[in-house]
Symmetry: C2
Subunit: 165 residues, 2 copies
DNA sequence: AGTAAATCACTAACATGTTAGTGTGTCAAG
DNA sequence: CTTGACACACTAACATGTTAGTGATTTACT
């Protein structure tokens, strides 16, 4: 009895929604031999030109440590090229190679057609509403939100015991 | 010139939207010593009772190989218990332990309050529209969608060369 | 100039995502 | 009764997500 009342799980709902969409594109990407992340990066580079890693992190929603590995693999397979910036030795610039651009050019029509097929099934109105609502949500990304105070109490088994430090 | 025309990246937009939401809850989960996946599983078990792994996969959007490891770790830390089903030796049943239920009971009010704070910022109308659109999308999850034909042509460097087999 | 703070890509360690394949158990057709 | 198709949890191998921390710069301030 006395079930714990919980709000709906919005992150899970967004995850399910994403899976409902990406599942129709995964076969295409697999067939082209690129991962979802590699495809996001390649798209961004072809649309926006040479970018820095931190920009790719922002745009492609990939954390810096992940990006390091992804870019290394993409350089291995010849999809992108990295070069250092003279004016700032910390920074790096990533650009798509001819091979990478060719892949995007080859895939673009297929992706576009799959979008059309998806819209045929879901309905143009749902697609429109979807973009509209998500744009509103993402636009509010930078708006500060208050945080609930964290209780200082005991926790379940954590990865690292902070011990006394 | 002649830029390749591409539709908007809907999976990326959904990923950004999810991050915009989950970022406000991650500190809570970290503080409680559970991962997002563990929290999803624990919530599902506390709301729906004893479940089989494949049900958890469906509900929590976790693939079977991932779930195996997550459940093993949760059993280690005493959050869930696994038992075999007599009638079918293949199957398994997962249930929350007292410790797991206590964690959910402790976290629930904090999560709920954070949702209220988030809604205060985003606006109740956006939240309502968000749920409505996502529900429509997820509901159409099972509707079959036509697939673009995959060209038999060459691919970029793939993980495993199928060679001659 | 010189020092402290900030920035950037990166490494390390662990957890999860993704695909392919395995071993066991169940069930139905023959 | 047996054979074959199927379902289930699992393993293996690799790629990515997540957090903490590092070393090399660059910047702001003195």
């Amino acid at each position: 009895m006395n079930e714990v009342r919980m709000p709906r799980n919005l992150p899970l709902l967004l995850l399910q929604a994403r899976e409902a969409v990406i599942s129709h594109f995964r076969p295409l990407l697999n067939h082209a031999g690129v991962t979802e992340q590699q495809w996001r990066i390649l798209r961004a580079l072809c649309e926006l030109g040479e970018l820095e890693p931190r920009q790719l992190c922002d745009i492609c929603q990939i954390l810096s440590p992940s990006l390091t590995g992804v870019l290394a693999r993409m350089e291995e397979t010849g999809l992108v090229a990295r070069r250092k910036v003279d004016s700032d030795q910390r920074r790096l610039l990533v650009s798509p190679t001819a091979k990478g651009r060719a892949l995007v050019k080859r895939m673009a029509p297929l992706v576009q057609q799959q979008y059309r097929l998806l819209e045929e099934t879901l309905g143009a109105d749902l697609m429109r509403d979807l973009y509209a609502v998500l744009d509103r949500l993402v636009a509010a990304r930078d708006t500060p939100v208050a945080r609930v105070p964290l209780p200082a109490g005991r926790q379940a088994g954590r990865r690292k015991e902070p011990s006394g430090d």
